[in-house]
Symmetry: C2
Subunit: 357 residues, 2 copies
């Protein structure tokens, strides 16, 4: 069985013959030279057959395909990437993978990239402060571009730009002109939910934020606060962490001490809203939405479950992912394209946990 030797494109015969054995691969893969020999064509003809868009006659293609099939030949994407400058790998940096929203995002990203024969090298972050550590690793792979669902500093953004690696942020907004992003309009989504609650006569609000370093939660919280500020209503801001358990415990704190009791809980994600709702109903026998309204944000599956039917804002996840993929691919093709920011409006899900007027 032949061992595979990587001959760089354009390397002349002499260089090839001089290439020592220790750069061969382990394994028994057939090479393009084996295919060329069996097909009775040149190696460059074989190479063209596996290069999208390259010119090759139908006759040659038929011979090459038949030989390749017989030999079990597969072009090596990594080697081709070294030569073409394209790896067909995109780095995806993502925090909070256990957040119920992320698996859907990842599945969508994978589906869209897959259509273009591009694959995802996955980097998950425990917290947004790990970006530096992860980027050190990203540089070591020849990724064609990066989708980041994590917060970068200006220095980190510049580092990508210096390396000519196109970068599109997912659900992160940056004021800078030079940064591309797709984002749900968290601020306006939350603001309009709160406006609906106000119009329905709610007067005493609890706003439960997510983790302090989450820019998404910050935008949602700001939207709620902006709508309430200056009005003759009560407002308490509580720091949650997006988890069900913490939402339960914050809800207990409020219900055990606040006087008068709040009549609206504005939770900046669905999971917290579900924890709040369960606590109110099960531990305090609260009538939702008659006495207390509860709203979430995201549109996770569980929001639509019979027991919850949560009033929330649905992010147009599929459209957002499609936009992020399109924007990144365009910039991989043409790195000179100006940056672009796309902001998608969320849609309100009118459930039975809050009435909005």
């Amino acid at each position: 069985m032949p061992t595979e030797v990587i001959y760089l494109k354009g390397m002349n015969k002499k260089a090839r013959d001089n290439t020592p054995q220790n750069i061969t691969f382990e394994g028994k893969r057939s090479t393009s030279y084996d295919v060329a020999r069996v097909a009775g064509v040149s190696q460059s003809a074989v190479s063209r057959c596996f290069k999208p868009g390259a010119s090759v006659s139908a006759k040659t293609r038929a011979k090459v395909e038949s030989a390749a099939k017989a030999l079990g030949y597969q072009p090596n994407a990594i080697a081709r990437g070294l030569i073409s400058g394209r790896s067909n790998i995109v780095g995806v940096l993502i925090t909070e993978l256990t957040n119920l929203n992320y698996p859907q995002i990842l599945a969508e990203l994978n589906r869209k990239f897959d259509e273009k024969n591009i694959h995802i090298l996955l980097f998950t972050l425990d917290s947004e402060s790990d970006v530096d550590k992860v980027l050190e690793k990203v540089w070591q792979y020849q990724v064609d571009g990066i989708i980041a669902a994590a917060q970068f500093t200006d220095t980190q953004i510049s580092a990508c730009q210096d390396r000519n690696i196109p970068l599109v942020f997912y659900n992160r907004l940056y004021p800078q002109n030079t940064v591309s992003s797709v984002c749900c309009d968290h601020y306006e989504g939350e603001r309009s939910l709160v406006e609906g609650l106000l119009n329905n006569g709610r007067k005493s609000f609890v706003v439960m934020s997510g983790p302090i370093d989450s820019s998404v939660s910050t935008a949602r919280t700001k939207g709620a606060v902006a709508q309430l500020k200056g009005l003759p209503v009560d407002m308490v801001e509580l720091e949650g962490d997006y988890s069900y358990e913490r939402a339960c415990s914050l809800t207990r704190d409020v219900m055990g001490s606040a006087n008068p009791k709040p009549d609206a809980f504005v939770c900046t994600n669905d999971i917290m809203a579900l924890g709040c709702l369960d606590t109110l109903r099960i531990e305090y026998r609260a009538k939702v939405p008659k006495d207390i309204s509860v709203v979430g944000f995201d549109g996770v599956d569980a929001a639509a479950w019979l027991n919850y039917d949560l009033t929330t804002v649905i992010q147009p996840l599929e459209r957002m992912v499609e936009a992020a993929v399109d924007m990144l691919l365009e910039r991989i093709e043409n790195p000179e394209l100006p940056s672009e920011k796309r902001l998608f409006a969320g849609s309100i899900r009118h459930g039975s946990t809050a009435q909005l007027d």
Copy 2:
């Protein structure tokens, strides 16, 4: 700014000089030759500094590190992979990414591999029948190994073996000696749940399976059926699809027609158990667990929510992932290692939706 040229290890000076310009990279990355020049050392000394375990003096290392920092040099992992035969990339094939369990698996996998500086190239499958299509793509990357949470045919397993790519299955069991896998003992977990229900006096069972092509669901269903067969109890098998919605609709079918009504719903995953539970309580005012028991399988977050407190079997996910990663890494280091199957017992979560005696 210098452009980067990939010089294969051991290529002699003449070959290097003959290497034409068209194999250069786009971009402005510094090369190990630039670092060597600035540090006043040989290129091979630079190379050794970035190779784990290679011998290099402290003095040389200091010079190289300072030069590398000044030039923003990063060793190219892909090029290094071509030379060493190792890419430090592992392919992960996974179905049903939107299944609530998978994000946790993926996060765990990533955490464990990350400790070894290995990264995940992610391939998601819409259904298990897409394996062939995905493997075609996997071959094109020089993955060091594969973790598969999907069902392979014998031919597909052989294809990995022929290519010397170590393969470890996650939650898939194969009778063949040659296949390595980690698996939760789905059969025994489900059987013991049903045994507990029988001991508690349940007499009329509904067993709700997952998708017909899921081997995990099949093992769970078989465990339930094996425990019930031959006993003087009623049993109905229904084909679900692991989804909340389908579980609701199957529960309605049963409650609307069965006579006598069942007193135990054995759902082969938690999400279906939650749909079943909501339907029973909300639409049929059923007393759970007094009149009807409901059990799930998996131990998803929502199973522990106040409103559910589901009786279920918890998979030891973290230990399973750790075992899968260890087994794969061992086989990447030493491909001659015999295959191994590790079967982990699930632990019963005694919630309030079923009493087990």
